[in-house]
């Protein structure tokens, strides 16, 4: 996983609440078995049907920060939603609230999801709508979002922050504790079911 420390880029204002993962990437794109190339599925229905949809506006081409309304990423557990955002070029998503599974998936995969108050989201929207070239910085080291006139701290637990900054993969970290897993398995109830 790529290390994440500080990212600065232009931002896309997505003025919707409850953007579920079916909207982020429709189910038809989930049939693939590869791990890359999901950018064509990102917001596929809105991109195809709504010329006014924000990602269809040339002034937001190349943006790498998405600023969305509350409850972004609710619904299905599909990690393809994270992959689609990353494959499209997004490094961070800022919103007042995220769906839990989506948030977990994003932080596993190195897409930084940042929770800030709705009021800050509104100010970011106003800023990037007034000037799409506005640069937004997501600083994981200082745990702060910055844009002209905005310096908003955000919370992220130390462990996740460390893992993202080091670009570490969870599985390798867990496998350091195989002894603990072996020991736990010896004390499981004998009557627990097996599948085979």
């Amino acid at each position: 996983m790529e290390k994440f420390t500080v990212h600065t880029g232009s931002a896309v204002p997505l003025r919707y609440s409850n953007v579920d993962t079916d909207q982020i990437i429709p189910a038809v794109y989930l049939k693939r078995v590869a791990r890359t190339g999901f950018e064509d599925g990102l917001f596929a229905a809105w991109r195809a049907n709504d010329p006014e949809f924000v990602l269809n506006k040339p002034e937001y081409a190349g943006a790498s920060v998405l600023v969305a309304g509350p409850d972004f990423g609710t619904g299905s557990s599909r990690e393809h939603a994270v992959w689609a955002l990353q494959d499209y070029g997004f490094k961070a998503v800022i919103a007042p609230r995220f769906g839990d599974i989506f948030r977990g998936n994003s932080l596993k995969g190195g897409l930084l999801t940042v929770v800030v108050p709705q009021e800050v989201v509104e100010r970011l929207w106003a800023a990037v709508e007034a000037d799409p070239a506005t640069q937004v910085t997501v600083d994981l080291v200082e745990r702060e979002v910055r844009a002209p006139g905005i310096a908003q701290p955000f919370e992220l637990d130390d462990y996740t922050r460390w893992r993202l900054m080091e670009g570490l993969d969870d599985i390798a970290l867990t496998l350091r504790h195989t002894d603990d897993i072996d020991a736990y398995e010896k004390r499981r109830h004998a009557w627990l079911p097996v599948t085979q």
């Binding site: 977990g104 998936n105 969870d170």
Partner: protein, 465 residues
């Protein structure tokens, strides 16, 4: 210290606890399907890692599978590749798989419980958000992403962030014609799609105790639609009676030991939940959704709301956007909303009791002209049972299509889809834009409302017949 049931199950599964790190939890059962697993198995291959506990892992084909002509090759090449990939992965890594045509094939959340693999006090995960279903047994069951699927395959554990606890207490008894689906739709309308975020919900109270296991699964299933990490119901005799005698249930002395343990899996009387929500079952009535998220619901007796009636500007904007997509005018009585399709099935309402309830309504009646009714059992065992009870004949005699098992039109990954502009009454769990097919419009309903709607052609309850 007094603890909730969820905290007890969590504590019992801590493999490793270290200051400043998430707890590492052991996973008792890992359910796998074709859509969220290919990249996880590929990750194992690339790293040269085996599946640590194939004997705690089970796979089924459900999301992609056709519900007609299931023994022929899948027509859609991409779907076929995904199914074939699962078969190869299961074979390469030693995971037991129920392929199409197997009597134990079906939707992953129907298959686990019916085999007796889902038991109280277990941790259950699956790369599917509706894993919360298994909480109906007093299991702690989470939906996970593909990175976590790979993590569980490799280590049989997951590092998990701590959760908050919420009690949803449903007092009293459900009136005739009101079901578990109406309870959970009313709960989601009350707390919103984000209301449960960060929480494990425990459903309790008299109305919950009075529910069958099938109905409890319907409730826990949609915990995710309230944004919750999981939903749980304390195990009781209803739970034990359901499990007893199933293929993977404990037997003999093991059964007694297990039940003794399970009886302790309840929230201590003096435990405190972080949040509590109370509902009166007596006041509930059939509930349907009018919008494009599961929190946008209302009693069937009411009308499509006016977006202007929402005080919160975000909710108002969401309602405006939803009504435009749904092509509904504010003030339209919900009973006047005409549908093209009725879908009875899914991990929410595709179990035998759901089919019985719908069949009871539709028996001797006909599906309305211009309405297509699709009945998709949650598993092949459910289909077998339904046929043995004559339910399949009831559906076909009424003019409904009686299909093979799978997720089907809940998410339209197979050919069972709405066409653009079509409207459905669906017993599934999500009314998102395009969920059941590009441009399709979905109203979430109970099996009883689905059956009555199929007969009348407009959103209806059995009392309208």
């Amino acid at each position: 210290m007094a603890r909730t049931m969820a905290e007890k199950v969590w504590e019992e599964h801590v493999v490793r606890r270290a200051e400043g790190e998430p707890d590492l939890l052991y996973i008792d059962l890992h359910l796998v399907h074709e859509v969220t697993s290919p990249q996880a198995f590929e990750g194992l291959r690339l790293a040269g890692r085996p599946v640590r506990r194939p004997d705690l892992t089970i796979a089924t084909e459900d999301h992609n599978v056709p519900t007609e002509n299931i023994l022929g090759p899948i027509a859609d090449k991409v779907s076929r590749t995904q199914i074939e990939t699962l078969r190869k992965n299961a074979s390469d890594f030693g995971v037991r798989l129920f392929p199409m045509g197997d009597i134990d094939q079906g939707i992953v959340h129907v298959v686990g419980p019916q085999l007796g693999l889902t038991q109280p006090g277990m941790t259950v995960v699956c790369g599917d958000s509706h894993t919360s279903t298994h909480g109906a047994f007093g299991a702690l069951a989470f939906g996970i992403g593909t990175s976590q699927v790979e993590h569980v395959l490799a280590t049989q554990t997951l590092p998990m962030a701590p959760f908050k606890t919420m009690a949803v207490t449903v007092n009293g008894s459900l009136p005739e014609g009101v079901t578990a689906k109406d309870i959970i739709l009313a709960v989601i309308a009350r707390i919103g799609t984000g209301g449960g975020q960060g929480y494990v919900i425990e459903y309790r109270g008299q109305a919950i105790r009075e529910l069958s296991m099938e109905a409890r699964m319907t409730i826990c299933n949609m915990s995710i639609e309230a944004g919750a990490r999981a939903g749980m119901i304390a195990p009781d005799d209803t739970t034990f009676d359901y499990i007893k005698g199933r293929p993977h249930a404990p037997q003999g002395a093991d059964w007694d030991a297990a039940v003794a343990h399970w009886r302790g899996l309840r929230t201590d009387d003096d435990a405190v939940f972080d949040t509590e929500v109370v509902l009166d079952a007596d006041r509930l009535s059939p509930f349907v959704t009018w919008g494009t998220n599961p929190g946008q619901g209302a009693p069937l007796d009411s009308a499509v709301p006016d977006p202007a009636s929402f005080a919160d500007p975000t909710e108002r904007a969401a309602a405006e956007k939803a009504l435009a997509y749904m092509d509904l005018a504010p003030g339209t009585p919900l009973r006047e909303v005409r549908v093209d399709t009725v879908f009875l099935g899914s991990c929410t309402n595709g179990r035998i009791e759901d089919l019985r309830a719908a069949a009871e309504v539709i028996k001797g009646r006909k599906v309305a002209d211009n309405v297509r009714m699709l009945v998709v059992p949650g598993s092949m065992r459910v289909k077998e049972q339904a046929n043995a009870e004559g339910l399949g004949e009831v559906f076909t005699a009424a003019g409904a299509e009686w299909r093979e098992a799978g997720c089907s039109m809940c998410l339209g990954m197979n050919p069972d889809q709405l066409k653009p502009g079509e409207r459905s009454a669906s017993t599934s769990n999500r009314n998102f834009e395009g969920r059941q097919g590009k441009g399709g419009r979905t109203h979430l309903v109970s099996p009883l409302v689905a059956a009555a709607t199929a007969v009348r052609g407009t959103l209806s309850s059995p009392a309208d017949l």
